[in-house]
């Protein structure tokens, strides 16, 4: 079987979703680490320096390409799968109590995924584009990145957007994380519950809580006192 046929098979598609998804999870951990540097009371130095390091590392730039590729693949496959799934039931049920047999979030990865995608666009527009493409932030004589963030989170709507999106991301991952392991065939009875438990912990505590805490702390002025 050629790689092309594999990728286009139903299980191949799942594998692509799972692989890109897990790769993006790794990125999230890195991203969270960067974010947490903002909580240092060092005037944002650690964060700024780390950002600087990342931007100037060829390796990171290379990984960044893969990152965008992963997002694109994840999204494109998701769109294709969703389309195919919809076509697989041309006549809908009049009564369909699927909520009794599966969770809303597991069934609506498309919705949470779309919201997250929307958020990513906003988020990039807000921070990534000015910093990395337009060079209007973070350069010499320009506002430092940490300050930009602090200012942004004075706006309650932004805080709400970030917190809300973190929540959606958490739910997305709560299903996605353990689902990815199932897709890779790792679902033995022995560690099945361990994976889903860790998946939930990762999704809700590490990612959900970790990401939403930053805007909240900035909004209430607890973080960012030193810059």
């Amino acid at each position: 079987m050629t790689i092309d046929q594999y990728i286009n098979s139903s299980i191949g598609r799942k594998t692509v979703m799972a692989a890109t998804g897990l790769f993006l999870c790794v990125f999230l951990i890195e991203h969270l680490y960067s974010n947490l540097l903002l909580l240092f009371t060092d005037g944002g130095v650690a964060f700024t320096e780390w950002s600087h390091t990342l931007v100037h590392s060829m390796l990171i730039r290379l990984i960044e390409i893969f990152l965008f590729l992963a997002i694109v693949l994840h999204v494109v496959q998701a769109i294709y799968i969703t389309k195919q799934n919809r076509e697989s039931r041309p006549v809908k049920y009049a009564v369909y109590k699927v909520d009794q047999t599966s969770s809303w979030f597991s069934r609506n990865m498309g919705i949470t995924g779309s919201l997250i995608f929307f958020f990513i666009v906003v988020h990039m527009w807000q921070f990534f584009v000015p910093y990395r493409i337009m060079d209007t932030v973070g350069g010499e004589g320009q506002t430092n990145v940490a300050q930009t963030i602090k200012e942004a989170f004075h706006n309650p709507w932004f805080v709400l957007l970030y917190v809300g999106s973190s929540a959606f991301l958490a739910f997305h991952l709560n299903h996605g994380f353990q689902s990815a392991f199932t897709t890779f065939g790792m679902n033995a009875k022995k560690y099945k519950s361990l994976i889903s438990l860790f998946g939930s912990f990762f999704a809700f505590v590490i990612i959900g809580l970790g990401f939403s805490i930053i805007p909240i702390l900035f909004y209430f002025g607890i973080a960012g006192k030193t810059f």
């Binding site: 139903s10 299980i11 799934n85 109590k97 699927v98 009794q100 353990q178 890779f184 065939g185």
Partner: protein, 247 residues
């Protein structure tokens, strides 16, 4: 008991169908759900109306022929039960019950509540077997099989091919059905020889039949009358991945 039934009526695969309302009275709680249908059909015949077509055969939960989507769930409200074993005790007097056929592109409606599940047979014909001609076999005990593997294999082999997994899945995916067979065979030494070809051919056929993609929602597992577990899907994914990497 008096009941209001909303039943999908569709003359054949070409015509459009619709839900038709029927009132039935004098239903006893002791009846099975299909016996309630017998009563209704008997009354329809008496009125010279065409009875409702539905698939059923063994009426003891093993042949896998019965297939009704009752009040939004395949095989109705009880868990680990086929329609034929569902009894009217599950319902309240005066209740409205909506009964639809399995709905999936892979299961086109033939008439009323009957659907065409031959896609499952074609998937089986693509690889759901061990290629052993009659008479080839060695003594049955020449290959010991660990009891745990035999039991696990049996738990997959218990699938009755009713299609409830497809019917309940929001994507109409047939992964649970296919994985049950792949898993059963992959666990046994007899099935290991062809494991790679088997999983690749069966998955290929499954995709051709127009079933949706699995997103691991677990709905199939919850409605499966035989309690086939989702981990068989995981095993199939693994088998498929390994087959593709090593082939």
């Amino acid at each position: 008991m008096n009941l209001t039934l909303k039943i999908w009526r569709q003359k054949n695969s070409k015509e459009e169908g619709k839900l038709v309302t029927y009132q039935v009275d004098g239903i006893s709680k002791e009846m099975s759900f299909l016996e309630m249908f017998d009563v209704l059909n008997e009354r329809l015949v008496a009125k010279n109306e065409e009875p409702i077509a539905f698939d059923h055969d063994c009426r003891e939960g093993i042949c896998g022929m019965c297939s009704m989507h009752i009040n939004g769930r395949p095989h109705g409200p009880w868990t680990r039960t086929t329609v034929c074993q569902l009894h009217m005790r599950a319902f309240e007097d005066g209740e409205t019950i909506v009964i639809e056929p399995w709905r999936a592109k892979g299961f086109p409606v033939i008439k009323d509540l009957m659907v065409d599940r031959s896609a499952f047979d074609r998937i089986m014909a693509a690889g759901g077997f061990v290629s052993v001609n009659t008479g080839n076999a060695q003594d049955a005990n020449c290959l010991p099989v660990p009891k745990a593997d035999a039991d696990e294999s049996f738990s997959a082999a218990a699938c009755i091919g009713c299609g409830a997994c497809v019917a309940s899945c929001k994507n109409s995916s047939a992964m649970l059905f296919v994985s049950a067979k792949v898993s059963q065979m992959a666990l046994l030494p007899q099935g290991k020889v062809e494991r790679k070809d088997r999983v690749m051919n069966m998955v290929k056929q499954m995709d051709v039949e127009g079933f949706g993609n699995c997103t691991n929602t677990g709905s199939c597992e919850s409605v499966c009358p035989k309690g086939i577990s989702l981990h068989h899907i995981a095993r199939m994914n693994r088998e498929y991945l390994l087959a593709n990497i090593t082939e």
